[in-house]
Symmetry: C2
Subunit: 456 residues, 2 copies
C-alpha cells in the first residue's frame, strides 16, 4: 500500500492527489494507443516543490518498496512515464523556474519542470539561443535530458546531450548530488552526468540542469526541395553535407502527407511539385552567409535531379512550412497505432527506404514515413490497418531487423521506455545488458524507480 | 608472478618484451617529473595484434590477478599509463590501421593505436576534417577517447566526446562489445559508450572507434590580440562569443612566455606589443565569412582596450604562431614540476587569474599560465622553485580550492589518472565516488585494469 499520510507530511496535503478522476492526465503520455501501456489501479500523484522533498519521497519509497514514476511534460512516445504498477507518479511540474540565463557564460540554469516553451522564451528574451528543438514544446527540461531528446535540429548542433553541462540529480536512494557546472571541459572521474543523460528516469530524478547557449542566428531561411522519387531526394543529403554546408535541419517528407496535414490544420502546403520532398532549414549569423548557402544548395539540388526548389524567406512563409511539418504527427495520429524511430548511418537512408518498401510489399501495406534525413533518423508510421490485417508485429520486426542490418538502431531519439523493451535484445548484446542492469542495481538497489522501464 | 609463457602463447614470442632495457619507454608517460609515479620492478610489455588477443590477455590476467596497464601514445600528463604495480603494459601500437574514411557518412573508423597525426592525414587525404586537436600528435585514438581529450579547438566544436559515435571495447573480463556506430542519434538503453569515454582505461580497453568528420574549412586566419593587462585580454573573450562569432580556438598566453619559447625553437614571436595576449584561430567555409569575422573581432578588440591586433593570413605566418604556441610546454618543461588543468566557467577566468596572483603573492612566487581562454581551461605551471621553497603542495591546494569556489573543477582535459587521485575528494562528493567505485567493480570485479588510477 502507498503511504499517503507520509507523502502528505512531506509535500503538504495539497500536493498529494489520490482521486482517480483527478489524475487521469497523469496515467498516460503521448505514446500511440496501439502500444500505450495500461496504468495500474492504485496510483498517487505527488507534486514536490524541491529536491529535498523529492529526496524524502524516495527515501520513503525505498523503505516501503513503493514504485516511483518520475513525470515531466508527459510528451514521451514509449510509455516510460506510465505508472504500470501500484505506486507514485512524481510530477516535476512545480520545479518550474528558469533560475538564470547567464549571458557572460552563455549558459542557462533551469529547474527540471520548466517546459521547452518557457525555456526558449527565457533564452530568447536574453538575446541568446538554445538550438535544439525536440518537437513538442510541452516537454520539460528534465525529461528532455533524461531522454536525450533529438528533434529536427540535430544535424548541425547535435542532440540535447551536447548542451548539458551540469545536473542536479536526486538518486533513488535519496542523496542529492550535483555533476558538472557552467563548464565546457570537465574530466574529473567517471562521467556520471553522461550516464544520467538518456537514462530515461531509471537511475535518478533530474531536478536542475545547466545547459550551453549560443548566439542568436542573424538570418534564417527554409527551402523545400522537391523530387519525383525517394532515392533522389535522400541521395542529395550527403552531397550537401560534404559540400561544407551544414544546415540546421534536413527533413525528409512526402507531399501527400504534407497536403493531408495542411488540410487538417486549414493551411496550404506551398510546394506543389514532385512527390518526395526535403525541407532544409538554414540559420546563419548574417544574410550574406545565408544567401551563399542557399545558392550552393540550389545548385546541388539541380545537379541531383530536383524538380523544384522553393525558398521561404519571410518569417510567415517559414512558419507555415514548419507548422505543417510539426503537425504531421497529430494529423495522422488517429490512423497510427505506433511510430517507429529507427536510425541508420545517414548515407544508408535510401537503403532503409527501399527496405521499408520491401516490407510493405511483403505484407501488402503502404508505410508512410517522415524523418530527419540529415541525421539518419526515420519515423515509419505503423497504421491501425496493419493490426487488422494481423501483420503489425511481423512488419515491425522486419523493419527493426533491416535497420540493424544497415548498422542502425531501434531508437534514435524516442528511447526504449516500456514499449521497446521486448525488442531491445535485437540491438544490445547480453553482456552490455548485464552491465546496464548492474548499473541500475547499483543506483537503485530496491528497484523503486520506473521499474517496468528498467532494462533488466 | 607474470605468466610470460602464456602471454607468448597468446601474442607470439616477438610481442612480449621482458628485458628492462628494452621497455624503459613504456614505464613513463609525459607526466611532469615532479609528479611522475615510479614504475614497478617487474613489468612485461605485451603488444597484441587484435581485440581477440587482448581479450585472451585480459582473461589470463583475471585468472592470475595480474594488473594490466593499457597504453596508447604515452602522451598523458597524469601518470595513468605508468605501471605502478608488477604487471603487464598492454600497448595498442599494433592496432594501427585507419580502417575507413567514409565520405558518404562523414565518419572515420579507426583502430585504437592510430596516432592523431596518422588520423589527421588520412582524413585530410579524403578532403574531410577531424576538428579537435588535443596537442601532441603522437596521442593515439584510443587514448584520446579514454581521456576525452580537449585541446585548443574545443571552443567551437567541443571536446573529443562530441565526435565519438561508435566504439569497440574489450571489457576487463574479456568480452568484446560494440557500442553505437555511424550514427548521429542513438538512444538504445543506458549509454555505456559515454561511460567508457573519459574512463581513463579503468573500465575497458578501446580497440576501435567510429568518429564524426566535418567538411574542410575553406579559409583560416589567426589573430594575435595584445593587451597591457590580463583582465582586459580575458575580458574580451565573452564579448566575442556573445557577438555570434565563435572562433575555433581562443588561447590566452603571455608575451614573455611566447618570446622565451620562440627563442627555444629558434623562431621569432611576431606580436611585439602588450604583455597579455590572446591567440584567436578562425576557420570558416569561405573567405568572405572569414574576413567578416576578422573585422568583427578587431572592432571588439579595440573597444576592449587592445593595444595591437596582428592578423596572420598566409599559411607560413599562421604556422609560426601555432608552432610557437604548441612548443610552450616543451620550452618550460625543465623548469616545471607539474602543470595544473583547472577549469572554471569561461566568464570566471579573470577571477581565476586574480586568484592565481593572490596565491603567488601569498607564497612569494610567480605563476606562469597558459590556457584555453574560450573554454575556461587554464594550465598554471608549477615550477621546481616552489618545491625548493617548500610551498608547492600548499600553492596547488589553494589553486584547486580557488577554482572549485568559482564553480570549477580540478581537471578540464588532462584527467585524474594517478597524480590527482588524492585531491579528487575536493571535487567529488562521497556518494558520487561510491557510485564510480561501484561501476568500476561491476566492469572489473578483480580490479586488474589500471589498479592505481581506479578512483576507489
Amino acid at each position: 500500500m502507498i503511504n499517503v499520510d507520509a507523502l502528505k507530511r512531506i509535500v503538504g496535503n495539497d500536493w498529494v492527489v489520490t482521486a482517480r478522476d483527478q489524475i487521469t492526465g497523469y496515467l498516460a503520455d503521448e505514446t500511440y494507443l496501439g502500444v500505450l501501456p495500461k496504468p495500474a489501479d492504485n496510483v498517487v500523484v505527488v507534486k514536490p516543490a524541491n529536491p529535498k522533498e523529492i529526496s524524502e519521497i524516495l527515501k520513503l519509497a525505498n523503505k516501503e518498496k513503493t514504485p516511483v514514476y518520475p513525470r515531466g511534460g508527459g510528451t514521451g512516445l514509449v510509455g516510460a512515464a506510465v505508472p504500470t504498477r501500484d505506486g507514485i507518479v512524481l510530477s516535476l511540474e512545480r520545479l518550474d523556474k528558469v533560475i538564470e540565463v547567464d549571458k557572460e557564460n552563455m549558459m542557462v540554469v533551469s529547474e527540471a519542470g520548466v517546459t521547452l516553451e518557457h525555456l526558449l522564451k527565457s533564452v530568447e528574451n536574453a538575446d541568446l539561443l538554445f538550438p535544439p528543438h525536440p518537437g513538442d514544446e510541452g516537454a520539460q527540461v528534465g525529461g528532455m535530458i533524461a531522454c536525450n531528446a533529438g528533434g529536427t535540429r540535430a544535424v548541425k548542433y547535435g542532440v540535447v546531450r551536447n548542451y548539458v553541462k551540469g545536473l542536479e540529480v536526486v538518486l533513488p536512494t535519496g542523496e542529492i548530488v550535483t555533476m558538472g557546472g557552467k563548464l565546457l571541459k570537465n574530466n574529473t572521474g567517471l562521467d556520471l552526468m553522461h550516464l544520467i543523460i538518456d537514462s530515461e528516469g531509471i537511475l535518478g530524478i533530474i531536478t536542475k540542469a545547466t545547459m550551453r547557449l549560443y548566439p542568436k542566428f542573424g538570418a534564417t531561411a527554409t527551402l523545400v526541395v522537391s523530387f519525383d522519387d525517394r532515392r533522389a531526394a535522400i541521395g542529395m543529403v550527403p552531397k550537401i553535407l560534404q559540400a561544407g554546408v551544414i544546415p540546421m535541419a534536413i527533413e525528409y517528407t512526402e507531399k501527400s502527407l504534407m497536403e493531408m496535414t495542411a488540410k487538417h490544420v486549414n493551411m496550404t502546403w506551398p510546394a506543389k511539385q514532385g512527390t518526395a520532398q526535403t525541407i532544409i532549414i538554414m540559420a546563419e549569423s548574417n544574410e550574406d552567409q545565408l544567401y551563399g548557402m542557399c545558392e550552393q544548395i540550389s545548385s546541388i539540388a539541380e545537379k541531383n535531379g530536383a524538380v523544384d526548389v522553393l525558398m521561404a524567406e519571410t518569417s510567415a512563409e517559414q512558419t507555415t512550412i514548419l507548422k505543417i511539418r510539426s503537425e504531421v504527427g497529430n494529423a495522422v495520429k488517429s490512423k497510427v497505432c505506433d511510430a517507429l524511430d529507427v536510425t541508420v548511418p545517414p548515407a544508408a537512408i535510401p537503403d532503409m527506404l527501399d527496405a521499408l518498401d520491401k516490407v510493405g510489399e511483403k505484407y501488402g501495406i503502404f508505410i508512410p514515413v517522415v524523418g530527419h534525413a540529415g541525421d539518419g533518423n526515420l519515423h515509419p508510421n505503423m497504421m491501425w490497418e496493419y493490426e487488422k490485417k494481423g501483420v503489425l508485429k511481423a512488419a515491425k520486426h522486419d523493419i527493426y531487423e533491416a535497420a540493424i542490418k544497415l548498422g542502425g538502431v531501434i531508437s534514435g531519439e524516442h528511447g526504449i521506455g516500456k514499449t521497446r523493451l521486448e525488442v531491445l535484445p535485437m540491438n544490445i548484446d547480453p553482456k552490455s545488458r548485464e552491465l546496464m542492469c548492474g548499473i541500475k542495481k547499483l543506483f537503485d538497489p530496491n528497484g523503486i524507480l520506473s521499474p517496468d522501464s528498467a532494462i533488466c
